[in-house]
Amino acid sequence: SQKIEQNSEALNIQEGKTATLTCNYTNYSPAYLQWYRQDPGRGPVFLLLIRENEKEKRKERLKVTFDTTLKQSLFHITASQPADSATYLCALESNNNDMRFGAGTRLTVKP
């Protein structure tokens, strides 16, 4: 069966460091991979989308990589700030618009 695994439930890092979150998947061939941020009690907010034929995408302090051979995406936040503390969800989407979400990783950036 299809499975999406995000590295750990929680990740704690020090302000200024780079946070790296992992999204692994099995039995799936996504055409797109998306990352969302979710704050407590609120809906997810879209951050980045990367296509299956793209290796890397950047937006300000965010960087996403996508390795279809390893079936893995890495999500990096450089120069992290306490305001980056949130849960980050990866989502895999097929060409027919079917999208599945991972359980998320809760990131805490300590000052």
Binding site: A31, Y32, Y36, G41, R42, A103
Partner: protein, 114 residues
């Protein structure tokens, strides 16, 4: 920037009662989704509309849940009767028609069934 609207934000009900949630998507978005999110898990799709038509309701518990989008704009999700296990966050999202379009989520409705 346009946002997806949802109401109510919070709902407390007793089991066996009926509840209804409303969603108004971003104008021009043909696709509307209802998701359920249990604490500590990712959102799970309940139903997807393309304009006024249901394109995927395979995970909707149809014995108690119903959804409609009569004019292809706003949508209502209903639960009747509510059960204790229905306690969760109910999220509405909208997007453009094509694959590769990201979801725009509303603030969600937090449901507690007592």
């Amino acid at each position: 920037e346009a946002e997806v609207a949802q109401s109510p934000r919070y709902k407390i009900t007793e089991k066996s009662q009926a509840v209804a949630f409303w969603c108004d998507p971003i104008s021009g978005h043909a696709t509307l989704y209802w998701y359920r999110q249990i604490l500590g898990q990712g959102p799970e799709l309940l139903v997807q509309f393309q304009d006024e038509s249901v394109v995927d309701d395979s995970q909707l518990p149809k014995d108690r849940f119903s959804a409609e989008r009569l004019k292809g704009v706003d949508s209502t999700l209903k639960i009747q009767p509510a059960e204790l296990g229905d306690s969760a966050m109910y999220l509405c999202a909208s997007s453009f028609r094509t694959a590769g379009s990201h979801r725009n989520f509303g603030p969600g409705t937090r449901l507690l069934v007592l």
